[in-house]
Amino acid sequence: MMKKINYALLISILVLSFSACEDDDDDVLAPPIPNEEEVITTLRFILTPDSGGQVASFIFQDLDGDGGNIPVITFDTLNANTSYTASVQFLNELENPAEDITVEVKEEDLEHQVFYDTDLSGLTITYLDQDPNGNPLGVDTKAETTSPESGTLTITLRHEPNKDAPGVSNGDITNAGGETDIEVSFPIVVR
C-alpha cells in the first residue's frame, strides 16, 4: 500500500517537475524593451513654391507614440495664387537615427494611399505619383492656392484601401476603406 502511494507521489513530483523548465523570475520582471520599428511618430508635409521663395512646413510630432505626452503640431501659412510642389514624409523618431517610414510606404505603394482633405475652397491638391496599377500613391503632390482664406487640412494615410472604389483615385476617401495609419489635421492659412 505505502509503496503504491509512493508511486503516486512520484507521479505528482513528475507533474510538478514540468514547472522546472521555467524562466528565471528576473527574466519575467525585466522584460526587454521592444524595438518599435513600426511606429510612426512624425509627419512632415513640406511645400516648396514652384516660383521659388519660402518653403512652408506642416509638422505633427508625437515622439513617444500613442499615449504619453501630447503631440506637437507646427503649422505654416501659404501664399495666395501660388503653385507648390509638395511632399509628405513619415518618420519613426523613436529609432535613432530616425527611420524614414515613407520608404516602406513607397515600397508597398499598391497597399497605401495618402488623402488630402481641406475645407479651403481655393486649395487644390493633386497627385503626382502612381503605383504600378496607375493609381495614385499621394506622397508627391502639387498644391495650388487662389484667394486668401483659412481653414483646416487633414492628411490621411490609409493601409490597404480599395483604390478601385468610386472616387478613391481622385483623392476622395469616402469609399476607400482599409485602416487609417495616420490622420492628422493642421490649421492652414492662405494670405
Binding site: 507533474v15 514547472s19 521555467e22 519575467v28 521592444p34 499615449g67 505626452n69 493601409h159 482599409g178
Partner: protein, 769 residues
C-alpha cells in the same frame, strides 16, 4: 468506491440486493422509477447480450427469469426519458432499481445530485451529455447559452465568452475538470480554451460563490467535467460528426474508454474546420477557423483506499477575425458602421485564415489522488500545470503581418489538499488549502509595446465549508481566505521607455451561507448569501495605450483596490400538478469598488487621430435580475418550455447604467415526440423561438453606436435514435435562424461592423458503442 464516486452523468442506481440463485436460473428484477420515486410503467428493460427485453408493469416492476451467469449490458429506456445503460456482472439472483430522469427536466437543464457536492443549496444547472451530443458544432460559450441566465459576449460567432448573471471574464470562474482555467481572460475577444466535446457534463452554479475553488469568483462558476470511467471491461465510446451549412464547417469527435477493477482509461479527440460564415446577405470574410483538441484520462485504483487519476488535455485553435473589423481609428469605425457591408467582403466562401487572426494553445496536466481514511473521511490531493500560449496577428505594414502583434505565454502551477469529513449527524465538512503560481510573459519581438505586462503571481488560499442535511432542510456555510503576491513589470509609454516594477499584496476574505427547504415533494426554496472579492487584474491596473480592437485609449490605474461583492440569490422551484414545472431564480449583487472602464470627456490626439479615453475606475454598483424557467407537458407527446431572463445593472456613484450586460431575452420551445417501436426510438421535433430585446438600459454616451434593435429568431430541430445491433446512432437536424433574419446582437463586438450570421443548418450524428 462508495457513493461519492458515482459519476455526474450516470443516473443514480438506487440499490443492489443480492439473493441466491442457480446456473441459468438467475432472476433479475427490480423497479424502474421516475426521479422522485414515481414508478414508471412501460419502461423498456433490454439486455443487449440476450437481445431480449421486458416492459415494466403498472407499479414499475420488471423481472427477467432464467438468465445464465455472465456479464450483461442493460439498457433502460422510457418514452420521455433519456435511456441509460448499465453494466452488470450477474452471478446470482439480483434486484436492481433504476431511476430515470424525466423528460421535462432534460428538455432544458437538469439539477444533478453529483454536482451538488460543490454546493448543497445553490442553484446548479447542467447541460446533459445528450444535449452536448446534439450540438457538437458549438463552442463552450454557445453551448452554455442553453442555460437560462447565461449569455455570451462575442467577437463574431467563434469567440464567445460565457456571461452568467452578468459576470464574465475575470469575474467568472471556469473549471476544467476541477482546475480553474487559467488563460488570458482580460479581453472580450478571448474565449475559454476548452473543448466542450471532451466533457461528459457542463454545469453552471448560478450562486453566490463556491468557496472551495481558488480563483476570481464573484458568484457563478462554470464546470466542465470529463466524468468518470464506467466500470465496464468492454471497449466503449462514441463517434460524432457534424456538418454546418453556414461556413461549410465539418467536425469529428471520437471517444474511447475502458474500465477495469483497478484501472480505466478514456481518450477523446476533436477536429473542427470551418470556412467563412455568412450573414443573410454577404460572407463574413476571414471568419474561418480550425481547431484540434484531445484529452486523456487514466484512472488507477492502487488499493481500496487510494486511487489516482491523471488527466491531460490540449486545445489548439487558429481562428480568423472578420477582416473588416480591423480599424485604425474612430473615422474608420464610423465609416464601417455606416456601411451596409463590411470593407474587404469577398464574394465567395474561403477556408483561408489571414490576419487579423488568433492562434491559441492551451494544455492542462493534472494528477488527482484520493485517499480514503475510512467510510466517512477522505483526502483529495491535486497537482496541476497549465500552459497557455496566445498569439494575435494584425494586418501590418511591410510583411509584419506574419509577426504576432501580441504574443503571450502563461504558465500556471496548482497544488491542492482537501479533507472531507462526513459526521454521523449528517453534517459534511470540507477543509482545504491551495497554492497557485502564475507566470505571464510577453514573448519579445512583436515590435509593439505590450498591452498586458509581465507578471509573477503566487496565491495561497485556505477554506472551510460545512453543510448539514435535515429531513427537509439543508444548510451550508463557508469561509475562505486568500493571499496573493503579485510582481509586475510594465514598460512606460513615455520616452525614453523604461521598465516599471510593482509589487503588490492582496488579502481576500469570503464567506457564504445558504439554506434549501423542501416544503413538499417538488416544492423547493433556496436562499444564499455570499461575500466575495476579486483582486484588480493587471490590465485594470497597468494597461496604458491604444486598444486597437475597441478604438479607444485605455488607461489603467495602479491604485485600484480589491473589488468586493455581496450577492444573494433566492430560487423557488415548484410543480403545479404533474404537468407544469416552474422555477424562478432571483439575484441581487452589490459591489463596492466595482472596476469598470469609464469613458472620459477628453479625447486624446495621436498621429492616427483623436481617440476617446477610457479610464479604469471604481464605483459602487448593483446588478440584479431573475431567470424564469417553466416547462409544460400537455400530454405524452406535446410539451413546451419557456425561459425568460432579466438583468439590469447600475453604477450607483455616477448614476449610470453598467455597460455590456446581456439584453433581456425570452426563449420558447414547443416539442412533439413520437414513440417509436423497434429499431427506431424517440423521434423528437422541436420548434423554437428566441427574442433578444434591445438593450435600453444604457446611455447614449456610453457606446460608439446605439445598441441594436430587438430581434426574433425561429429555429427547428428534429432528432431520432436508431439501434444498430448493440449500438446506437443518434441523428439531429437543426436549423437556426430559419427565416434568415438580419440582426445584430448587443453583446457581439462584431456588431459595429457586420450583421450576425444567417440561416444555419446543422446535421449532427452521434454513434455510441
Amino acid at each position: 468506491m462508495s457513493d461519492k464516486r458515482i459519476s455526474f452523468f450516470v443516473f443514480l442506481v438506487l440499490s443492489i440486493f443480492q439473493l441466491n440463485g442457480q446456473e441459468c436460473h438467475i432472476q433479475l428484477k427490480g423497479v424502474v422509477q421516475e426521479k422522485g420515486a414515481t414508478p414508471l410503467s412501460y419502461a423498456n428493460i433490454y439486455i443487449k447480450e440476450l437481445k431480449s427485453g421486458v416492459a415494466s408493469e403498472e407499479n414499475g416492476k420488471y423481472k427477467f427469469n432464467n438468465i445464465c451467469p455472465g456479464n450483461y449490458h442493460i439498457v433502460i429506456s422510457h418514452i420521455g426519458c433519456e435511456s441509460i445503460e448499465y453494466y452488470l456482472s450477474l452471478q446470482k439472483d439480483t434486484t436492481i432499481n433504476f431511476e430515470l430522469e424525466h423528460h421535462h427536466q432534460l428538455l432544458d437543464e437538469v439539477s444533478i445530485e453529483g454536482i451538488q457536492s460543490y454546493s448543497e443549496t445553490q442553484n446548479v444547472k447542467q447541460i446533459s451529455l445528450k444535449k452536448i451530443a446534439e450540438m457538437p458544432n458549438e463552442n463552450l460559450g454557445n453551448m452554455l447559452e442553453n442555460i437560462s441566465g447565461v449569455s455570451t459576449i462575442n467577437n463574431g460567432n467563434r469567440i464567445s465568452k460565457p456571461v452568467v448573471n452578468g459576470m464574465y471574464g475575470n469575474r467568472l470562474l471556469i473549471l476544467n475538470n476541477g482546475i480553474a482555467q487559467s488563460g488570458q481572460q482580460w479581453g472580450v475577444d478571448h474565449s475559454p480554451e476548452i473543448d466542450p466535446l471532451s466533457a461528459q457534463s457542463i454545469s453552471v452554479i448560478k450562486g453566490v460563490g463556491a468557496l472551495e475553488f481558488q480563483g476570481s469568483n464573484l458568484g457563478s462558476v462554470v464546470l466542465v467535467e470529463s466524468g468518470k470511467i464506467n466500470n465496464d471491461p468492454h471497449l466503449h465510446g462514441h463517434a460524432r460528426y457534424f456538418f454546418e451549412s453556414n461556413g461549410l464547417s465539418n467536425g469529428v469527435n471520437f471517444q474511447l474508454e475502458q474500465g477495469r477493477e483497478s484501472w480505466g482509461w478514456k481518450i477523446n479527440t476533436t477536429l473542427k474546420k470551418s470556412g467563412d460564415q455568412n450573414t443573410p446577405d454577404y460572407f463574413l470574410t476571414n471568419t474561418a477557423y480550425e481547431e484540434a483538441s484531445a484529452s486523456a484520462l487514466l484512472e488507477k485504483r492502487w488499493s481500496e483506499k487510494f486511487n489516482s487519476e491523471l488527466y491531460f488535455s490540449t486545445f489548439n485553435t487558429n481562428l480568423g477575425i472578420l477582416r473588416g473589423s480591423q480599424v485604425g481609428n474612430l473615422t474608420d469605425l464610423q465609416s464601417a458602421f455606416e456601411r451596409e457591408e463590411p470593407f474587404f467582403t469577398e464574394d465567395a466562401l474561403s477556408f483561408e485564415i489571414n490576419p487579423p487572426r488568433q492562434e491559441v494553445n492551451h494544455h492542462l496536466l493534472k494528477l488527482k489522488s484520493k485517499w480514503l481514511l475510512d467510510e466517512n473521511r477522505f483526502f483529495d490531493f491535486v497537482v496541476a500545470q497549465q500552459w497557455n500560449f496566445r498569439q494575435e496577428y494584425d494586418v501590418r505594414r511591410s510583411g509584419r503581418s506574419d509577426k504576432p502583434s501580441l504574443s503571450l505565454e502563461q504558465r500556471t502551477q496548482f497544488a491542492e489538499v482537501k479533507y472531507h469529513y462526513f459526521t454521523s449527524s449528517n453534517s459534511k465538512w470540507k477543509l482545504g488549502g491551495q497554492y497557485q503560481g502564475t507566470e505571464n510573459i510577453n514573448v519579445p519581438e512583436t515590435g509593439i509595446l505590450p498591452l498586458i505586462p509581465n507578471y509573477i503571481s503566487a496565491k495561497w488560499g485556505l477554506f472551510a465549508l460545512w453543510s448539514k442535511e435535515y429531513e427537509r432542510l439543508s444548510l451550508e456555510g463557508g469561509l475562505r481566505y486568500d493571499f496573493e503576491n503579485r510582481r509586475v513589470a510594465t514598460i512606460s509609454n513615455t520616452f525614453p521607455r523604461e521598465v516599471l516594477n510593482y509589487d503588490n499584496n492582496y488579502h481576500n476574505y469570503s464567506f457564504v451561507v445558504g439554506g434549501a427547504y423542501e416544503f413538499q415533494r417538488e416544492y423547493h426554496l433556496n436562499y444564499n448569501l455570499g461575500l466575495t472579492s476579486r483582486n484588480p487584474e493587471v490590465n485594470e491596473l497597468y494597461s496604458n495605450g491604444l486598444h486597437q480592437g475597441v478604438s479607444g485609449i485605455e488607461e489603467g490605474n495602479p491604485n485600484l483596490v480589491e473589488e468586493q461583492s455581496i450577492k444573494q440569490t433566492l430560487s423557488i422551484e415548484k410543480h403545479l400538478g404533474s404537468k407544469i414545472h416552474l422555477e424562478l431564480m432571483t439575484f441581487y449583487q452589490y459591489f463596492q469598488n466595482y472596476i469598470f472602464l469609464n469613458p472620459q470627456e477628453e479625447f486624446r490626439l495621436t498621429i492616427r487621430g483623436a481617440f476617446p479615453v477610457f479610464k479604469y475606475e471604481q464605483t459602487q454598483a448593483e446588478i440584479y435580475g431573475f431567470d424564469l424557467v417553466s416547462s409544460m407537458e400537455f400530454n405524452e407527446r406535446w410539451s413546451a418550455l419557456l425561459k425568460y431572463s432579466f438583468i439590469q445593472g447600475n453604477d450607483l456613484d455616477n448614476r449610470e447604467p453598467i455597460v455590456f450586460l446581456p439584453s433581456n431575452n425570452l426563449r420558447t420551445e414547443l416539442n412533439y415526440q413520437i414513440p417509436l417501436k423497434g429499431q427506431w426510438e424517440n423521434l423528437e421535433l422541436q420548434l423554437n423561438h428566441q427574442s433578444v430585446f434591445e438593450q435600453t438600459h444604457i446611455n447614449e454616451d456610453q457606446d460608439f453606436v446605439p445598441p441594436p434593435e430587438t430581434y426574433h429568431l425561429i429555429g427547428f430541430k428534429a432528432s431520432v435514435a436508431r439501434k444498430l445491433g448493440k449500438n446506437k446512432l443518434n441523428a439531429t437536424l437543426q436549423i437556426n435562424n430559419l427565416f434568415n433574419t438580419v440582426y445584430r446582437d448587443y453583446l457581439n463586438r462584431q456588431r459595429y461592423f457586420a450583421d450576425d450570421i444567417g440561416r444555419n443548418i446543422t446535421i449532427a450524428l452521434n454513434y455510441t458503442f
